[in-house]
């Protein structure tokens, strides 16, 4: 019962706080089991769904439903032997969710084309985050042949959760200081790519899992008080080389984020100590390569670059067993 209560509490925490800030929405019941469609080969009668979130996709006319499996562990208790079956179980669950009338009835909206993906959310409840999780992930070799074509499964580990939790906290702080407007004026940024256009520019406001697991998260907004547009770019990389920042600056230029009447904030977390200086060197080099254009210099100079200093290491103390895979 404690486990059930913990899952429900965690689901609420995720939707109200963490993923809520990334504009995800919750659908259907939490901590529920639904009938397996292939009990003979899956050797189970039911599959679990701890919580299901959804968001609209920018590059296709679909809505992603994120079927979550929530896990937490104490330091030193996670192992490859626990991680591998959790991934495999989620993959089997996904293959059934795609076929299951019951799952679709509980979670999917009638008017959209669904894309169901899995999310294994693994956090370390007593030690903030654990850098060894990446090693575990690279060693784990789950058999996920059941994962249907065009489906995907994401794993957010302690380090990812540490990062996302701090991004969320920074968004709240910036909003509190009036630097960015209320959530209704904010959206995450999806430029038109070469091979795909953003075909849901109004609806696809949330941060996709692809963005959340990527090198940076770009939040865009229109501030009704100042009548200015703006971008906050949460930069996840280490920031220890000029080429790294040259590439990033070129990204900002390529998608024309650096415009007049636009505020641009860059926020970093636990980067190299010299990252701010290295960023300035990259700005200088980039300007030089733009024939020392005064306009480019001004636009790059206007970027507000800062570290997130108020670091939150603890996401939650709620414990959810790793053994219920």
């Amino acid at each position: 019962m404690a486990e059930t209560r913990n899952i429900a509490e965690m689901a609420t925490l995720l939707s109200d706080d963490l993923f809520g800030e990334f504009l995800w929405q919750r659908t259907g019941p939490t901590d529920t089991n639904w009938p397996c469609e292939d009990p003979e080969s899956h050797k189970v009668k039911t599959h679990p769904s701890d919580v299901v979130f959804f968001y609209d996709n920018p590059y296709s006319l679909t809505r992603t439903y994120v079927n979550c499996d929530l896990k937490s562990y104490a330091s030193g208790t996670i192992s490859k032997a626990k991680l591998t079956p959790a991934i495999e179980s989620l993959a089997r669950g996904l293959s059934c969710a795609e076929k299951s009338q019951e799952w679709q009835k509980r979670f999917i909206h009638d008017t959209v084309t669904p894309e169901i993906c899995g999310l294994l959310f693994v956090y370390n409840h007593d030690n903030g985050y654990d850098k060894d999780f990446k090693v575990l992930m690279s060693d784990a070799n789950p058999k996920i042949d059941d994962l249907p074509r065009n489906s995907k499964l994401f794993v957010l580990g302690p380090e990812d959760i540490f990062w996302l939790n701090n991004v969320r906290y920074e968004i709240v702080q910036m909003r509190g200081k009036g630097l960015i407007p209320a959530q209704e004026h904010c959206r995450f940024f999806y430029p038109n790519l070469v091979r795909r256009n953003n075909i849901q520019p109004e609806h696809a406001r949330a941060a996709t899992l692809e963005m959340l697991t990527g090198p940076w998260i770009v939040l865009s907004y229109f501030h009704p008080k100042t009548n200015r547009n703006g971008y906050v770019i949460f930069y996840r990389r280490i920031g220890d080389s000029v080429p790294e920042f040259l590439y990033f600056i070129d990204y900002l230029m390529y998608y024309q984020l650096l415009q007049s009447n636009t505020d641009v904030y860059i926020r970093t977390l636990e980067t190299d100590l010299n990252a701010p200086a290295i960023f300035q060197r990259a700005v200088h080099e980039y300007t030089e390569q733009c024939e020392n254009s005064e306009e480019i210099r001004e636009r790059l100079k206007a970027i507000t670059y800062a570290q997130m200093n108020d670091i939150h290491t603890q996401f939650s103390e709620i414990e959810i067993g790793m053994d219920n895979a």
Partner: protein, 376 residues
């Protein structure tokens, strides 16, 4: 940007093109692994094109683009190095002055960074651009770096450089600068086995891999062999054969003459029947890839390769430390791990010293007057 080739950001289309066109080097497994390193598992049932498309649509930064470009490159093209030994002690100040003059005269698209790493080591990095417009934009421009090191010892100075034409050109320019500064042509030697017989050339490789200080030979995985000119079949003597017999002999002769070099891949190659057969037929080794284990802690296994740029002539010795298999309580990591440049720099002198020692011993045995390497 004034120069289009200097754009840094890679679009989804450009990344897709690189992934799609590197079918052989970037397999489905490599694509699945690439996604997995971000915490994304795609279905193993997805086609290669779907995987390439999905990955190209993900946000990429400088490092992930570098990883993609690295994977799309032929791994066998991992830069080998070579060395030139100058039989004179040259002061760091002299080297610094010559490099300064070289740097001032370098073309605008070359960037020269030079620094003293220690009193006896001086490093010159020349960044240059290689262009190939036949390729997709991301692959057109490859930023290359010629990392040239001067290692000053008691009576000699070793110049270690990447084994490619550009680095050789730079090293030659630096060498002539040093000659000018010393007002004499400094004698230089390189590892050159053109004067050795084919059997001795094979011995050069087998002795090299088995007598490296601090390492014990574990395996030989790749060997390239070439037929010695003396063993090539003589021309047909027409007058001795007639009719069909002559025709058959001609066909056989043509077939035999085609096999001039053979590449063997596998395990324990030097004791394989196939290699022994080729050796007996007069083939000699021109390049080799081997694994050797450290005889001291941490007892890791290191993978090397060595060969000659001109295999038939035995000129242009080049070598590399390909990677490391870490010893974890007696078990070795399954995949080879890359070595840092600094770690490689520690190992290169062992190959160089062993190659020179082996060559000198072979020359002594064969009573060839030259000592060490070939005088340039």
């Amino acid at each position: 940007m004034p120069n289009e080739t200097l754009r840094y950001y890679a679009t989804d289309k450009e990344i897709f093109d690189v992934l799609a066109s590197s079918r052989q080097r970037v397999s489905e497994t490599a694509l699945l692994d690439m996604a997995r390193s971000r915490g994304i598992f795609y279905s193993p049932r997805d086609s290669r094109d779907t995987l390439a498309s999905n990955i190209s649509l993900l946000p990429h930064d400088h490092d992930s683009l570098k990883e993609i470009l690295g994977k799309s490159e032929n791994p066998n093209r991992a830069e080998k190095v070579t060395s030139i030994t100058l039989n004179a002690k040259i002061s760091p100040e002299t080297i610094k002055a010559v490099v300064k003059s070289f740097s001032e005269n370098a073309p605008s698209d070359e960037k020269v960074v030079a620094q003293s790493e220690s009193p006896d080591k001086y490093r010159v990095q020349v960044k240059y651009t290689e262009l190939d417009y036949a390729k997709t934009r991301l692959l057109q421009r490859r930023n290359r770096e010629a990392d040239i090191r001067f290692i000053i010892e008691d009576n000699k100075t070793t110049i270690r450089l990447p084994a490619n034409p550009k680095a050789r050109e730079i090293a030659a320019l630096l060498k002539s600068g040093l000659d000018a500064s010393q007002k004499t042509e400094i004698p230089a030697e390189t590892i050159d086995i053109s004067d050795l017989s084919t059997d001795e050339r094979t011995l050069f490789f087998t002795n090299l891999i088995s007598t490296m200080d601090g390492y014990e030979l574990r395996d030989v995985m790749n060997v390239k062999v070439q037929i010695g000119s003396a063993s090539k079949s003589p021309p047909l003597e027409d007058e001795e054969k007639n009719g069909e017999e002559q025709e058959d002999a001609a066909i056989t002769q043509t077939m035999l003459s085609v096999v001039e070099d053979v590449a063997l891949h596998g395990k324990a190659l030097l004791v394989s029947a196939e290699y022994q057969l080729l050796k007996d037929k007069g083939f000699f080794i021109t390049s080799i890839t081997w694994k050797a284990q450290q005889t001291k802690s941490p007892f890791n296994i290191v993978e090397y390769d060595a060969g000659f740029e001109e295999p038939e002539e035995g000129r242009g010795f080049r070598y590399n430390v390909r990677g490391l298999y870490r010893n974890r309580d007696g078990e070795f990591t399954k995949t080879m791990q890359a070595l840092s440049a600094a770690h490689k720099e520690e190992i290169f002198p062992i190959i160089e010293r062993t190659a020179l020692r082996v060559l000198e011993a072979l020359r002594k045995k064969a009573d060839i007057p030259q000592q060490g390497g070939e005088q340039q």
